[in-house]
Symmetry: C2
Subunit: 151 residues, 2 copies
């Protein structure tokens, strides 16, 4: 009666029904009320929460981070300035910008390979004049893991 069935919520938010259970396990969704028979009955806001989760993921936050953010939003009393969305968004922004810079370097290398007309990596790597900086490129790899993670 009052409350949405899991499928309704899932459909409205564009996610899989299993995902609701998964998010519940992960602490992203509160445990909803149940019908007498044990079926979940969600409040309407849940759809919004799901959209927010998806948006946050798209912004580069992991599910753990999203869980934290939702939590931080729920009880505002913590009030340390480094836990809120503000601070985290700034951090994430820096990460995304680093990632963009990194991808630009990658694009440059690809462009160089195309421009040079090189067609076989291994032989090309052995010759001087190969535009792809094989040795450096592997080292540069480092660890800029920021994954804006589109699914």
């Amino acid at each position: 009666m009052n409350g949405l069935r899991s499928s309704q919520v899932a459909d409205a938010a564009g996610v899989n029904r299993q995902t609701l259970r998964y998010y519940e396990r992960r602490g992203l969704l509160a445990e909803p009320q149940r019908s007498l028979g044990g079926h979940r009955l969600y409040p309407a806001e849940t759809v919004t929460v799901l959209l927010v989760i998806k948006a946050a993921q798209r912004l580069g936050f992991t599910l753990d981070e999203v869980a934290d953010l939702l939590d931080a939003g729920r009880h505002h009393h913590g009030r340390r300035p480094d836990t809120g969305l503000q601070a985290r968004a700034k951090t994430k922004l820096a990460e995304v910008e680093a990632k963009i810079a990194d991808l630009r370097a990658i694009a440059d290398s690809l462009r160089a390979a195309v421009d040079a007309g090189c067609d076989d990596m291994v032989t090309c790597a052995g010759q001087s004049g190969c535009p792809i900086p094989f040795t450096t490129i592997a080292a540069t790899e480092a660890r800029g893991d920021t994954e804006a993670h589109d699914r």
Copy 2:
């Protein structure tokens, strides 16, 4: 005697020894010769091949794609213009550029959230004037999977 031991190759290329076996299974490295006792003996070029693999990964190619590319390079006779490094590099470049554009949109959203001083996603999402395009952002998700995949 003649040939490098697996650890020597792994160390020289900066990869794990297990990774050599893994690449062998995946078809990225040819099966090397063996000593009488069954130990692998690699030719010196293997190190170059590994560096090339790492570089290609960093350029955004998956291991399957790298395997194909190495193969394409090995026997040049196929000669269809769409199988070589050239064509694939172009495709990959377009993907990387799309990814960059996508990340820029994400960075813009993060910047907007910071500028607007919004501090709780869920309540903010409900109010008009929220700078984060929650509904659209989730839909935009689509599938721009290009993962330059560092790590």
